[in-house]
Structures are given as structure tokens and as C-alpha cells.
Amino acid sequence: LNAAAFQLALRAAAALHCQIPSVTRWDRKQYYYPDLPKGYQISQYDQPLARNGYLAIDDPQGRFAAKRVGIIRAHLEEDAGKSMHDELLGKADSRIDLNRAGTPLLEIVSAPDMNSPLEARTYLSELKLLLTYLGVSDCNMQEGSLRVDANINLHVTTREGQVATPIVEVKNMNSFRAVERALAYEADRQFRQWQQSGHTLGEVPKQTRGWDDQQEITKAQRSKEESSDYRYFPDPDLAPAITTAEQIREIGGGLGELPAALRQRLQDQYQLSAYDADVLVNQGQKLVDFFLEVANDCGDPKQASNWIQRDLLRYLKEHGRNAPLPVTSGRLAELIRAVNAGRLDSTRAREVFAHMVEHQTGLVAGMAALGIREVGEDQVRELCRDLLAANPQIVEDVRQGKLKAISALIGQARQRNPNVNPNLVRETCLRLIEESAG
């Protein structure tokens, strides 16, 4: 037995609030298929390692009410190989990739508690986030380390009461977005199908359909050439695994701070909005840690959050989510402090940030490289006097109450000296105009 895989599965089970039985065992699920080299899959049949848990989901935008999605069971099994069927042009070529055969796989079965494609997508996102926080999996769907099969049917209200449409299992979805779209498509298709055929749950066998991402439709899949009698029996090569109450307590205590708790803490301790907390936490542990460092260092969580969401996330979007962070938390905190102290205006601050990122430098070097020197108040006053003298029309406009006219002066000031703080220029000009009037 792969002890590390078992430990990770128990972590996931504990984080999903599951009951973890003291004894769990593995069974052989037997069928013939070329991607299954042993002729059976080691799986768990009637004694899975976890049962009866839940995962809470919520939508900060309020599109659905917060709820708990039940977890019926979670079990650890081995992956089969990958079959690729090429049936184009009448060929019957099949290729088998056995590289992933035998690797541990945790199957998590949720209860039918989701009532919309959005809820399903949110559940998946939250589950993925939880599993990445726990270090259970990198959950990379493209590489197959997270896969989703979704079961869906409709409950249609008719004059005679509610009827349920036959359940369909949808496979082949390679992103959460695809899951959401496939389910939306399938809901629509099932409604039309029901209107046409009138078939309800139990009247036709369960169907498996594959999502076609190009055409954005689901298609009925060919069923495997196998009988449905899997002849499960306990795997005699693997001893049952015993988990003591103490071990379960230890696992529960060692989970660390999980996404839901972290979101709450960012709101309570750092006064972030629910939305901001959600965005940061959803980016993963690494980014949250970075935020906490910056916020604690500069003392302005709101600005820390803004900088991360606006500038850092854009960088990560361009360079890949797993790219190393381009700036240290200390340097970003220093930048925020400089802005808050009025030493930099926000426009120039972003130029400095871009430079710091590009050249891996700090604030001082960045400012120096961009030729930013702080401009003294005397200098600003002198500059403003010159500008006012040269622009009597603007002075007149301002006196008439058109305060917006001052913007033109700010532009001119920046042309003469790019380092002047625009706010300071505005205030100084207004004060001078006032003084001259007095």
C-alpha cells in the first residue's frame, strides 16, 4: 500500500468533514480492457476510507445562496491506463498509454445537492482550492490529475406534479468552464428530449455522454465491451488499513488554515471586502502568504490587496499562474509606503513597479532609473507661479468655478518636470490663485 497516498487521502477526508472508519480495505474490480494490465482495478467497494462529509460553497456575487454540498464517499483506487480510439475513416485503431496505470487516485463522490451549472462549477473550484491547499494534488485538469464526471437530470414541475428526467453521466470535460457549459447544454437537451419522448427516470438505462468542446454539445458514447458484473472481492494482496482515533485526530489537527477560514480572517483582521478576500484566497496559498507579508509590512491591507489584484495578477496572467513572483513582499510594501507618504504619485508608482519587476530591483533603484527625484515644495511653488503667469485664461476659468481647467496645468507641469506630484501641483495652483485673489 502506498502509505503517502493513504495519508493524503485521509487529509482530504478530514478537510471534507468526512467520517473516517477505523478499518478500510481494498477490493478488486474485475473487467477486461486493454488499458487495465492486471485485468482488475484495485479500488474500494463497500468499505471506503471516508463517508458522509460536506463542502461549503458560496458566491460573493450572490447568484446562489450559501450551501453545503454533501460528500457521499471518498475512496482511494489505482488509475487505469489511457485508451485513445481513432475511428476516423473507418479505421479501428486503438492506442494505449499505460504510463499512469497504477498511480493512486482519490475518487470523491458528491451528493446531488447542486442545483445549477454555476453551483457545480463553484463546488469544483472550491474543492480544487481545498485540495491544493492541502497538498493532496496539483489538480491540473489538462494533465489529468483532476478529472470530473458529472451526473445530471432535471426535476420538471408539471400539472401532475414533479417528474425527473433520466440521469446522464457527462464525461470528457477538460476545464471547469467546460463542465459548466456541458451541464447547461445537457439541461437544455434533457428538457427538449423529455418534451419529445416523455421518458422519465428509470424508464431508460443510464446514458453516458461525452462533451465535445469544439461543437459545444454532448454526444452519446459507445459503451465498453464489458459485462457489468465486476465480481468485486477483497484484494488478497493488500491488508486492510487500520486508522486509530488518535491518528484521525492528528490528521484533523494538522490540516493548517483552510480556504474558508482564511477568507474570514482576511475580512476580520485585514478589513478586506468579502469579494477581495475571495479573489486572494482563490489564488492559492502562495499568493495569500505574499499578501499577508505585504499587508503586515506596509500597514495598508487595502492597498496591498489592490496592488496584488491589479498589478501582480496581471503579471501572473501573462507569465503563467505558477511563475515565480516577480517582486519580494518587502519591496512591494516599500512602494506602497512611498505612495502613502506622498513621495510618489500612483501613476509613477506603477511605472516604478513595472521597472522593479522587469529589472528585479528595489524602490530606490527603480526611482533612480526612471529619473524620479522628489521635488521640493519650493520648486513646485515656483513652477506653479510660472504656469499661472503663462496661462491667465486658465486662472480666469478657475476663478469662474471651472476647477477642471486646472488639469491642463498639471499636464504642463509634468511636461516640464515629470517628477512633480500632480496632487501637489493642483493644491499649490489653487492656493496661489486664491491668494492672488485675496
Binding site: 500500500l1 478488486r28 474485475q30 477486461y32 486493454p34 494490465p37 492486471k38 485485468g39 482488475y40 479501428a92 465491451e225 458484473d229 465480481r231 468485486y232 472481492f233 484484494d235 488478497p236 494482496d237 493488500l238 491488508a239
Partner: protein
């Protein structure tokens, strides 16, 4: 005395003192094999060149004073169901005729670490399914005591080559008696260790919850020595036990004080041949003369042993052998012929309006039909049936419950006595072909041995007499789990007091 009449323990002494070289010993074994194995058929393959090279290397290391392993220079034969890297492991089956093992079984690895000479792979019933070594795809093995008789099985090759002095030591495997029964038939010592005592890694699985590899030798001392080398935990087998390994080779010579020996009442019931019973009862008297107390004990569920075994073992076998499907390795049917057959049948089926299975299912069916022999197919069908939906509870589940009762029988007996004793099999070796048409008669021969595996305890077979016809009779001793030490000490006491183990087929 002929060199090959020496026990392994004596040979080790001669090798250590350099009175004999490993090459001389290996050569003597190869000559003996050459002279007798054409008639007996104990080996599927003999690695002459490899064995002599290994022997030469050991001699060289001894000559320069380099440390050598526990079995340095001793030729050992290995049943052809244990993987040895770089060579074929056929399991006596067409299915694996061309299979080259890419790794060593732990048992083989430990033999290599002990500097044993791996001289060849021995014949067996196909996938160890049988009690006569008649179901091998590569020919039968004959009993060295009487070439018209079977050597027992399934480790018949291993027992026969030890009995006929081709090698001093051999490895067998025992799922329902496959070490002990051929040991009894061939007049040698065979030990089925406690389940979990010896790693199953690299032992091609027949019934995973019952299989166990173990030693065959001519003396108990040699058996103890070989077990000491084989036993111990292995992280690659999750059913291998973490229990400590006692120094069997040393403690085996210590006699047991006031041994309490349980005589299994059910093993002396109807069906036991009188000559066999007489020899076993005489062995009990020998033990009494050595200070042992013989106590009548009962294993009340013994009568369900065969039925239980022939549900559990085939069930597991049907699953373990599913991997031989022609898709990945092992025998695959001739695909050109298959496709032609399919096309021909398709025409007929179209006309008759019948469905037809596709090439994949056809390939599975043909490969398995052609690659497996009759006995293996019989057990696959038995097991598949027993595990099928609707039958599982009545067969597999029920058998699992009876298995627990059988284990409890042993536990109860071992509260009264140290070891239990009886015959290994109801008869001596039977004639070749006598039972091949009657599987039930063949299965019933395992009556006394299958419960050992079902209970997971240790069992040992040692020679205790000869029939009037001159065929060996085996005494069966069984011990608590992981009590091989006591088992071996008792058996050694017996051999010290008797000379059955010194008899040879040629004398």
C-alpha cells in the same frame, strides 16, 4: 560416501574447509542431472554455464579470503514460478513460455545475496495448480523412487531433484500442500512457512492469500538453514510479516523438553491407507520415546477444508490470472488466423442475422483458450462462477466464514498442544495418469494439507517410512503462526532418532 549424499550443512563445511570447491560440487550436480533427469524430468531449464560461472566466482572469493554468504557455493534449484531476472519464468504454462522476467523475486534475491548457485528452474503443475506435476505444458516429472509414479505436486520438480541427489536444496511454493505433498511423495523434508514469513514478491500469484514459498531439503537441519536465508520482512509485499527471524540453523539442534504433540483425530479417519497410518502412528511412538506427550486433538471443521479451499483458491486464481489476456505480455493468438476466422464467421453471422464479438474479445478468448491448460481453465471457471453476482454470498463469502472457523480450530488446538501431527496425504505417491481423469480424487489428496494454508499456520513434511512397494511416507507436523523454530526442533529430534531421511531412491 558419494559427495552428493552429503547434506547441505555438511557440504557447506566441506566448502568452507576447501576440501571441495564450489566448481567441483556444481559439476557433480550437473553430471547427476545429466544422468538422471532425462528419465525424471525435474528441471524445465538448467543453467550450466551460469551455475559454473557463479561457482567459479565463489571459489575465487574464498581463495582470496573475501567474505562469502550463508549458502556460498551450494547449488539450489528454484521452482519455475519464482521470477529470476533475465531468464524465462514459465509457470509450466504455454502462456508464459516466452516470458523473460525483468526482476528477481525476493526469494531469488536472498539466495543470490547468500551466494547460492542458481542451477536451474524446476517443473511444476501449470501455475502450481495440481498435486502431481502432470499438468505442466513442458512434460511430466516422475517420482525418483518409482518412475511409474507421480512425484506429487505442484512442486514435484523441486522435490524430485532433491530426492535424486541432483541438488542439496530446492525452493517450492505451497498454496494447498504443494511443498509438503511432493516432499512426502519423494521422501524429503518440505516446509510451508507461516503465511507472511517469506516474501511473495516475484512469486507468480496463484491464490494470493494462501501462497507461500519455502524450502525443500533432505534433512531438517538443511531446511532450517534455507528458511533462515529466505525468511524476513519485505516492504514490497504488503502481506509480509514484520516478525523477527530466529537463527533457525542454530536453534534447530536444541531438543524440546516435554513437547506436547496433538494427534489430529480427523486425519486418521476413513480413506487413510493402512500402511500410511501405521508409519505415522509409529512416528508418534518415536516422539513419545523422546519424552513427548501425545494428546488427541480435534480440528472439527477439517471436513470442510477441501470445499472451502476449492472456492477460495480458484476465486483468487480467476482474478490473478486475468492479466494473461494476450494484450500486454505472454501468449497471444495468431492474429492473421484470428482475423480470417472472424471474417469467415461474419459472413455466416450476417446471413443468420446473429451478432458477433469483435476482434478484442476474440483475441482475449483465443489467447486464453490456447495458452492455458485444462486444469487452469477449470479453476478459472470455478472461481469466476464463485465470485459472480448472485453467487458471491453463497460461495466466496460463505467459504471466507468457514475459513475463519478453520483458523479458530487451530487456535483452540494450540491452547492444548505445541504442535499438531498427522499424515501428509492419505496414500503414498499414486501412478502417473491414475487421477488425471478424476479431478475430485486428485483434489481429495490435499485433504490434510489445505487447512494449513487456510489457517495461515506453518506445516512441515518429513519422511517417516516406506510402503511395502518402496514408496516414501510423509509425517505432517504443524505449528502456530511464526513458530517454525519449534516445528524444526521437533522434526530434528525425530530425524536424530530415525534414519528414514538417509534412505535414497537408489539404495
Amino acid at each position: 560416501v558419494n559427495l552428493l549424499d552429503h547434506s547441505a550443512t555438511e557440504l557447506l563445511r566441506l566448502l568452507a574447509s576447501r576440501d571441495v570447491t564450489a566448481v567441483e560440487l556444481c559439476h557433480a550436480c550437473l553430471v547427476q542431472i545429466e544422468q538422471h533427469d532425462a528419465a525424471i524430468g525435474a528441471f524445465i531449464r538448467v543453467d550450466r554455464v551460469g551455475a559454473l560461472q557463479m561457482a567459479e566466482a565463489i571459489d575465487h572469493r574464498r581463495a582470496v579470503g573475501y567474505p562469502v554468504g550463508r549458502l556460498a557455493g551450494l547449488p539450489v534449484a528454484v521452482k519455475d514460478i519464482l521470477c529470476a531476472r533475465g531468464g524465462p519464468t514459465t509457470c509450466g504454462s504455454r502462456m508464459l513460455e516466452d516470458f523473460i522476467s525483468p526482476y528477481d523475486a525476493t526469494v531469488v534475491e536472498r539466495l543470490k545475496e547468500a551466494d547460492a548457485i542458481l542451477i536451474g528452474k524446476t517443473n511444476l503443475d501449470e501455475f502450481a495448480m495440481g498435486s502431481s506435476t502432470e499438468t505442466s505444458a513442458f512434460g511430466i516429472t516422475r517420482n525418483p523412487w518409482n518412475l511409474a509414479c507421480v512425484p506429487g505436486g505442484s512442486s514435484g520438480g523441486s522435490a524430485a531433484c532433491v530426492a535424486s541427489r541432483m541438488v542439496p536444496l530446492a525452493i517450492g511454493t505451497d498454496t494447498g500442500g504443494s511443498i509438503r505433498q511432493p516432499a512426502a511423495c519423494c521422501g524429503v523434508v518440505g516446509l510451508k512457512p507461516t503465511y507472511g514469513r517469506v516474501s511473495r514478491y516475484g512469486l507468480v500469484a496463484f491464490a494470493s492469500s494462501l501462497d507461500q514459498a519455502g524450502p525443500l531439503a533432505r534433512t531438517v537441519e538443511d531446511t532450517a538453514l534455507l528458511l533462515e536465508v529466505l525468511a524476513g520482512h519485505d516492504s514490497r509485499d504488503s502481506t509480509s510479516a514484520c516478525a523477527e527471524v530466529p537463527p533457525y540453523a542454530t536453534t534447530v539442534r536444541q531438543p524440546l523438553d516435554r513437547l506436547r504433540l496433538g494427534i489430529i483425530r480427523e486425519h486418521f479417519a476413513e480413506g487413510l491407507e493402512r500402511e500410511v497410518e501405521a508409519a505415522v502412528r509409529e512416528a508418534m511412538r518415536v516422539f513419545e520415546s523422546l519424552g513427548a506427550e501425545c494428546i488427541d486433538v480435534s480440528l472439527p471443521h477439517s471436513k470442510y477444508g477441501i470445499a472451502t479451499y476449492y472456492i477460495i483458491a480458484p476465486s483468487e486464481a480467476s482474478s490473478n490470472l486475468a492479466r494473461y489476456d494476450g494484450a500486454h505480455y505472454g501468449y497471444r493468438t495468431d492474429q492473421t488466423a484470428m482475423m480470417k476466422e472472424l471474417l469467415d464467421e461474419r459472413r455466416g453471422a450476417l446471413e443468420a442475422g446473429m451478432g458477433l464479438d469483435g476482434p478484442l474479445v476474440r483475441m482475449y478468448c483465443r489467447s486464453r483458450s490456447e495458452g492455458f491448460g485444462a486444469e487452469v481453465k477449470r479453476r478459472i471457471m470455478l472461481g469466476t462462477y464463485a465470485l459472480s453476482a448472485g453467487y458471491y454470498d453463497a460461495y466466496y463469502l460463505k467459504a471466507s466464514k468457514v475459513r475463519r472457523l478453520i483458523r479458530q480450530d487451530y487456535e483452540a488446538a494450540f491452547t492444548q498442544v505445541d504442535l499438531v501431527a498427522g499424515p501428509v496425504m492419505p496414500t503414498a505417491a499414486f501412478r502417473i495418469g491414475e487421477r488425471t481423469g478424476d479431478p475430485l480424487a486428485m483434489y481429495l489428496g490435499d485433504l490434510y494439507t489445505v487447512t494449513t494454508n487456510l489457517a495461515g499456520v506453518a506445516g512441515l513434511s518429513l519422511p517417516c517410512g516406506l510402503t511395502a512397494e518402496g514408496l516414501p511416507i510423509g509425517l505432517h507436523l504443524q505449528a502456530r503462526p511464526f513458530d517454525e523454530e519449534r516445528l524444526l526442533r521437533a522434526a530434528y529430534m525425530y530425524q536424530q532418532a530415525t534414519d528414514w531421511h538417509t534412505r535414497s531412491p537408489s539404495s
